[in-house]
Symmetry: C2
């Protein structure tokens, strides 16, 4: 009697969740420190002290306003603070009118897709990719078109993207720093993308939106700069979340930025308001709108991730594993030691190493290691990685 598609979505097994659940059970069986669970992308660095201080300050404000409905778009205060921060950091000319507060990146992405899409449209995703993209695209009645990243460096494969564009292409989702690969697209690569999309626009007469999913923008290493896509391509919608940068994934707070440079941005912004309404979002959580207003420029602490990354890369590279040099996010994308990544992950599991096979992200031959874990987990896992490698030698 229910909607079968929703039933399937709600009951389908998830490799990541199952691995995590297995890890919890296994830890209970043989001890916490004997299981090396790299399955999740949950920040292990606590929220900065500024967040707690902001909440305590806000609790002195009158509760009717503090916990009350805000406008659907968010309070003028937080939207202005975010616009100012964008302008300072990226040389844009944003105003509060370009910002729409959301319940995190998932909400931002789903709202963006529904705002611009008509049934039957196509959205391009770059594989490997976050699997929920497909779900939101299909729920909007659209088709998810996978285009592989260049396997040599996991940058955008411009020729493949160009070949995938059709008159039905409405958008392309770009996630940089990337989950699951940890790559950051270069400015040159993104300028190439803009050229492709602009020439396709001329050819086909229709705009292709870049929907950029940037929860990992602040999680970068060794001074890597993440190019700001709206400064490169006008028809970009930015989906930002504080889940990773302020370690607030459960609080569901982020924003959409519809840049003032986008021709007709007011129409897109209005459609975003409509899609938020149709999807059942009323306003982003009000207390955390206040927190973000106060913490908009709080620095992101990546020291622990950087240390984990260095330890893991050194350890695996000494053992002879091949992986993509991670420039951002907190994932290592490692080549499986046999063609069947599920078989490889299963053998890793026998060594208590919980790695997510790349099938979960729409491609084969790899595993994802989430290094947002305790340093001890990394250190103690190296002998297990050594034993796993020894099996294949």
């Amino acid at each position: 009697m229910v909607n079968e598609k929703m039933y399937e979505l709600g009951s389908e097994p998830s490799a990541i969740r199952e691995l995590f659940a297995y890890g919890l059970a296994r830890k209970a069986e043989i001890g916490e420190d004997k299981v090396f669970d790299f399955s999740l992308g949950n920040p292990s660095i606590p929220a900065p002290a500024a967040v707690k201080e902001a909440i305590i300050e806000l609790l002195d404000e009158p509760p009717v306003a503090l916990h009350g409905y805000t406008p659907a778009q968010g309070t003028p205060g937080v939207r202005t603070a975010i616009a100012d921060s964008i302008n300072r950091r990226f040389g844009m000319n944003a105003a509060a009118a370009n910002i729409y507060m959301t319940a995190g990146a998932a909400a931002s992405l789903d709202i963006s897709i529904n705002a611009v899409a008509n049934e039957g449209d196509e959205f391009i995703v770059i594989a490997p990719y976050f699997p929920e993209y497909r779900i939101w695209i299909e729920a909007a009645g659209c088709t998810c078109i996978e285009v592989m990243a260049r396997e040599i460096d996991f940058q955008l494969d411009l020729a493949a993207i160009e070949a995938a564009v059709t008159p039905k292409t409405k958008g392309i989702i770009i996630n940089s720093p990337n989950n699951p690969v940890g790559s950051v697209y270069s400015e040159e690569n993104l300028r190439g993308l803009a050229d492709v999309l602009c020439s396709k626009r001329e050819e086909l007469g229709s705009v292709i939106y870049v929907i950029c999913d940037e929860p990992y923008r602040e999680i970068v290493y060794e001074g890597v700069e993440v190019p700001y896509i709206p400064a490169i391509y006008d028809n970009t919608i930015v989906c930002y979340s504080y889940s990773k940068s302020l370690s607030l994934p459960g609080e569901r707070i982020g924003y959409l930025y519809v840049p003032e440079r986008m021709p007709d941005w007011q129409r897109v912004y209005a459609a975003i308001c409509g899609a938020g309404r149709a999807l059942g979002f009323v306003c982003a959580p009000s207390l955390f709108q206040g927190v973000i207003e106060k913490c908009v420029d709080a620095p992101t602490d990546v020291a622990a991730y950087a240390e984990n990354r260095a330890l893991l890369c050194r350890g695996l590279s000494e053992l002879g594993y091949e992986y993509v040099e991670p420039r951002g996010a907190f994932y290592l994308w490692v080549k499986a030691l046999e063609p069947d990544e599920q078989a490889f992950a299963d053998r890793a599991k026998a060594h208590e190493l919980l790695l997510v096979p790349s099938t979960s992200f729409g491609c084969s031959g790899y595993v994802r290691i989430g290094y947002c874990v305790d340093k001890a987990t990394i250190e103690q896992s190296i002998p297990a990685f050594a034993a796993l490698m020894a099996e294949y030698r």
Copy 2:
């Protein structure tokens, strides 16, 4: 280039928002105390002290867990606390597995509709009704069928509901205590509804779900009991929100309850998980899940609303206005003094009385007065209501 339907939804004028905006401007012009703004349904009673205490206690917990992702369904702790409370209060036999935490009633309703609906299905709403119902129903590709409440007492018109059921009817949205009328459906009335739906099930062979929208359950007066629909009709999905009962509308926290008595409740629950995922909800805000776990039985303070209600009813009734005796919520549903409720609301506006015409709720001939305001607003508005009445005498 955007989705036209979303553009319209995002840019269409809202009588309520426009009235509220007018009120703000008018107050700036002639003084706060000269404008009687009854346009909104924003709680005027502050959140109970227990909420602030709960937040402060929670802030001592480790932030990684406190602000981290919870399972999509919510933490086991809050779901168990809610199930226990339902069992204590309503004699049900709920467990955590029957509860799904949501970002408030809007999310609950939209998720429920999408979980059970297939394109082309019909949902019945009882007019006058909260206008977003239609938006969520139509966004799910379904048809919104309006059935008027009985005008004599604004209870459910069972004959009209029966006549409106077709083989495509998937559900009926029941909102009691009711916005905008303030009515509470009696147990007898609801048992009659259950009979209609059960006999239609026999006749048509398909389940009709009651989706009960209960944010106002705790806002009742003079000891009114609000019958618990899942105890009367098995195929009921409860959409609860703490927006009104704990005055937390901006925090977006509530739950769905899929009762254990519903045949096949596990399938419905799984479809709810799927719909939540497809709509872009990840988890309900985590800090407030913790707050609800601690405050699940915090009493709702309705004293100020009760006082406002008494003042307003006495004042208007002495002046000769006709209205529906409000049993719950914080709205008074008043008969317009001329057939055209918009013309009546416009004349009220000339007396600085901001009343929402009933067209916003899918029926004619009435206005809604939201009495979730300062007591002074009520007191000072009575002479304006007197002057308005005098115009019509």
